[in-house]
C-alpha cells in the first residue's frame, strides 16, 4: 500500500521539472487560480483598507473637500479629547465585566447542565440558554428597552414584588452601563455556555472517577482536575469574549444613541462611529480605529503570553 502511494509522487516529480520551462512549475498556476478569488477580495476589503486606514489617519478629510496632510494632528487631538478616555474606560469596564460574568456563569451553567439527569429538562435548559444568542442585537436591544422600562417593564414589576426599587436604568449614569452588561449577558451567555459544555465533555470521565476513588473532595476535583483540563477552553472563551466585548456597538447605539446619561455608555466603537459617520472626520476616525487595533492586539498578545503560564497543554 505504501509503495503504490509513493510511486505516483516520485514519478511525477521529474516530469514536472521537464515540462515546466516557464516561470511556474507545472501545476503551480492551479494553486494561484484557486486562491485568486480569495486573494482579490482580501486585497480589496481587508489588506488594502487596512493600509488605507493607516494612511488616512495622517490626513484630515471630510469626504467633500480634498484631503489635507495633517501629520500626527489627529492623534494629538484624539489624546487630548476627554471623551476618548471616557469611551475607553466604559469599554474596558464592559469588556472586563463580560469576560468575568460570561466565563464564570458559562462554566457554572455548563457544569450544572452536564450533571442533569432528566433529558427533557436538560434540553429545555440548553435551548432556552441559547435562544437569545440566535436573535439579532437589534431585536434584543429594542425588546430590553421595554423589559427594563421604569413604568411597564417586566423587571420593574417583579423587582417591586420582592421589595426592590429598581433604578431608572437608562437615565441614571450609575446604572446605564450595568444595564447594558446585563442585557449582553442575557444575549451572549448561550455562546460561552455551549463552548464550556463542549470543553467539559472532552474531559475524560475516568479522571474524575480516579480522583474520587483517591478520596478527593468535590471542590478538589474541580480545582485539580476539571479546571486544569478545561483551561484551553476557558482561555479560548476569554480571548473571544474579550475581543467581542471590546467591539460592542449595536446595543449601546440602539438603546442610548447619544451615549447615555453623562456619556456613561459611550464605547470606543461608538465614538469611532460618531466621528467617522456622523461628523465625517474620516482621518480622525481612522486614527481612532488604529488605537482600537493596537489595544486589541496588545490585550490578545498579553492573554497569549499569560496562557503559557497557566493553560494546561495536553
Amino acid at each position: 500500500m505504501t509503495l503504490t502511494q509513493a510511486r505516483p509522487k516520485r514519478a511525477a516529480a521529474p516530469r514536472e521539472k521537464a515540462r515546466g520551462g516557464g516561470r511556474f512549475r507545472r501545476g503551480e498556476w492551479v494553486g494561484y487560480a484557486f486562491l485568486s478569488p480569495a486573494l482579490l477580495l482580501f486585497l480589496a476589503f481587508v489588506a488594502g483598507p487596512f493600509v488605507v486606514a493607516i494612511v488616512l489617519a495622517f490626513f484630515s478629510w471630510d469626504m467633500l473637500t480634498p484631503a489635507e496632510f495633517n501629520g500626527v494632528g489627529n492623534f494629538t487631538e484624539m489624546f487630548s479629547d476627554p471623551l476618548l478616555y471616557t469611551a475607553l474606560a466604559n469599554t474596558f469596564v464592559f469588556a472586563f465585566a463580560s469576560v468575568v460574568t460570561h466565563l464564570g456563569g458559562g462554566l457554572l451553567l455548563a457544569m450544572g447542565v452536564n450533571r442533569m439527569m432528566n433529558r427533557a429538562l436538560s434540553y429545555f435548559v440548553r435551548t432556552t440558554l441559547f435562544f437569545p444568542f440566535v436573535i439579532s442585537w437589534a431585536a434584543v436591544a429594542l425588546l430590553w428597552k421595554y423589559v427594563l422600562d421604569p413604568t411597564f417593564g417586566l423587571v420593574t414589576h417583579y423587582a417591586g414584588e420582592i421589595g426592590v426599587q429598581p433604578p431608572e436604568w437608562f437615565t441614571d449614569p450609575a446604572w446605564a452601563l450595568p444595564a447594558i452588561i446585563a442585557i449582553d449577558f442575557w444575549h451572549t451567555i448561550g455562546f460561552t455556555f455551549v463552548i464550556m459544555l463542549a470543553g467539559l465533555q472532552t474531559v475524560p470521565r475516568e479522571l474524575h472517577e480516579a480522583a474520587r476513588v483517591d478520596g478527593a473532595r468535590p471542590y478538589q476535583v474541580f480545582w485539580r482536575v476539571t479546571l486544569p483540563m478545561m483551561s484551553p477552553t476557558i482561555f479560548f472563551a476569554a480571548v473571544v469574549t474579550f475581543i467581542g466585548a471590546f467591539q460592542i456597538f449595536d446595543p449601546v447605539q440602539i438603546i442610548t444613541p447619544d451615549g447615555g446619561p453623562d456619556d456613561s455608555t459611550i464605547t470606543i466603537v461608538m465614538y469611532l462611529y460618531q466621528k467617522g459617520f456622523q461628523s465625517f472626520q474620516i482621518g480622525y476616525a481612522a486614527a481612532v480605529s488604529i488605537l482600537v487595533f493596537v489595544i486589541m492586539m496588545a490585550v490578545t498578545l498579553l492573554q497569549f503570553w499569560g496562557s503559557r503560564k497557566w493553560v494546561h497543554q495536553q
Binding site: 492551479v30 494553486g31 477580495l41 488605507v52 429538562l121 470543553g199 456597538f249 474620516i282 480605529s289 482600537v292
Partner: protein, 281 residues
C-alpha cells in the same frame, strides 16, 4: 459499597435542587421572549399591563398589520434574505477554493500567504470599514445591497477552518482520483466537499447568522427604507416612525419567531458548529 450508598443518598436531593434551579434559570431566560410574543398578540389597550399579562387577551393580529404601514417590512425581509444568501453561498465557495489550495496544492509562497491571511484575523472590522466606505462610494455602491454582501465574501476564519478540516481527509482519496485522470475542481467538488458536510454546515450557519443580524454595515452603507435590511428597519420603526409599542413588538416577533423556529429545527448542527469552531480555533 458503603461509601457509594452514602454519597448517593446525599446527592439525590442536591441533584433535584440543581435541576430545579437550572429550570428556573431557563424560565428567566425565556420570559422576555414569551412576554414579547404575548404583547404583540394583545390588543393595544390591554397590552403592557401591570402586572404583566402572560396570555394574549383580548387576542388580535391587528398589531402585525400595522407594521407594513410604518416600514416596508416585506421588502426589508427580502433584502435581508438576499444579502445573507449571497454572502453565505459566495463566501463558502471562495473559502473552499482557497482552502483546497492551502491544503492540497503546492506553489511558491503558499505558507507565507497563509500566514498573512491568518494575521489579518487580528484586524478589527471597525478599522477596515472607513476605507471600505470610501471604496463603495467611489464604486457608486452606497445604498445598494452589494455594499453589504461584497465585503462579506472574504472570510479568513472560514478559509482557515476549511483548511484544517480538509487536512483531516485522507490524501489517498484524491491521489486515487488523480490517477484516474480527475482534475482539481472535480476532486474538490466530488470528493472533498461531499466529505466536509459538517464543516460546511457549521460555516454556513455561522456566516448566515452573522450577516442576517448585522447592524453596523446597513447603518453605514444603506439609507433609503426600501433598500434597508431588517435590523436597522426595526430600529427605525421604533425611533423615527414612532410606531406604537405593540406594533414595534409585532415587528420584533415577526423577525424573531421564524429565526427561533429555524433554530429549533437546526439546533443540533447549530450548537455543534459553535462548539466545533470553538474547539478547533
Amino acid at each position: 459499597m458503603t461509601v457509594r450508598t452514602r454519597s448517593r443518598r446525599r446527592v439525590r436531593p442536591a441533584r433535584l435542587l440543581l435541576e430545579l434551579l437550572l429550570v428556573a434559570v431557563g424560565l428567566v431566560m425565556i420570559a422576555p421572549l414569551v412576554w414579547l410574543v404575548v404583547q404583540s398578540f394583545t390588543e393595544e389597550q390591554a397590552a403592557f399591563e401591570i402586572p404583566p399579562n402572560w396570555i394574549p387577551k383580548p387576542f388580535t393580529t391587528e398589531n402585525f398589520t400595522g407594521v407594513p404601514d410604518a416600514i416596508p417590512f416585506g421588502r426589508m425581509a427580502l433584502n435581508s434574505l438576499q444579502v445573507a444568501v449571497i454572502a453565505t453561498v459566495g463566501s463558502l465557495l471562495v473559502s473552499v477554493l482557497a482552502a483546497y489550495a492551502f491544503s492540497r496544492l503546492t506553489f511558491r509562497g503558499r505558507d507565507g500567504i497563509f500566514l498573512v491571511l491568518l494575521s489579518a484575523l487580528m484586524i478589527p472590522a471597525q478599522m477596515t470599514v472607513i476605507p471600505v466606505f470610501v471604496l463603495m462610494r467611489n464604486l457608486g455602491l452606497i445604498d445598494s445591497l452589494p455594499a453589504l454582501w461584497l465585503p462579506a465574501l472574504i472570510n479568513v476564519f472560514s478559509i482557515f477552518f476549511f483548511r484544517q478540516y480538509f487536512n483531516t481527509i485522507p490524501r489517498e482519496l484524491d491521489e486515487a482520483a488523480r490517477i484516474d485522470g480527475a482534475g482539481h475542481l472535480w476532486i474538490l467538488f466530488r470528493i472533498i466537499v461531499p466529505l466536509s458536510g459538517p464543516a460546511l454546515a457549521a460555516m454556513a450557519i455561522l456566516t448566515f447568522q452573522a450577516v442576517w443580524n448585522n447592524y453596523l454595515a446597513p447603518l453605514i452603507f444603506l439609507s433609503t427604507p426600501e433598500n434597508m435590511t431588517l435590523p436597522v428597519g426595526l430600529v427605525t420603526l421604533q425611533s423615527s416612525h414612532g410606531g406604537s409599542p405593540v406594533v414595534v413588538f409585532a415587528a420584533i416577533t415577526a423577525v424573531v419567531v421564524p429565526v427561533l423556529a429555524l433554530f429549533l429545527v437546526f439546533q443540533r448542527s447549530f450548537v455543534a458548529s459553535i462548539a466545533q469552531a470553538g474547539l478547533r480555533g
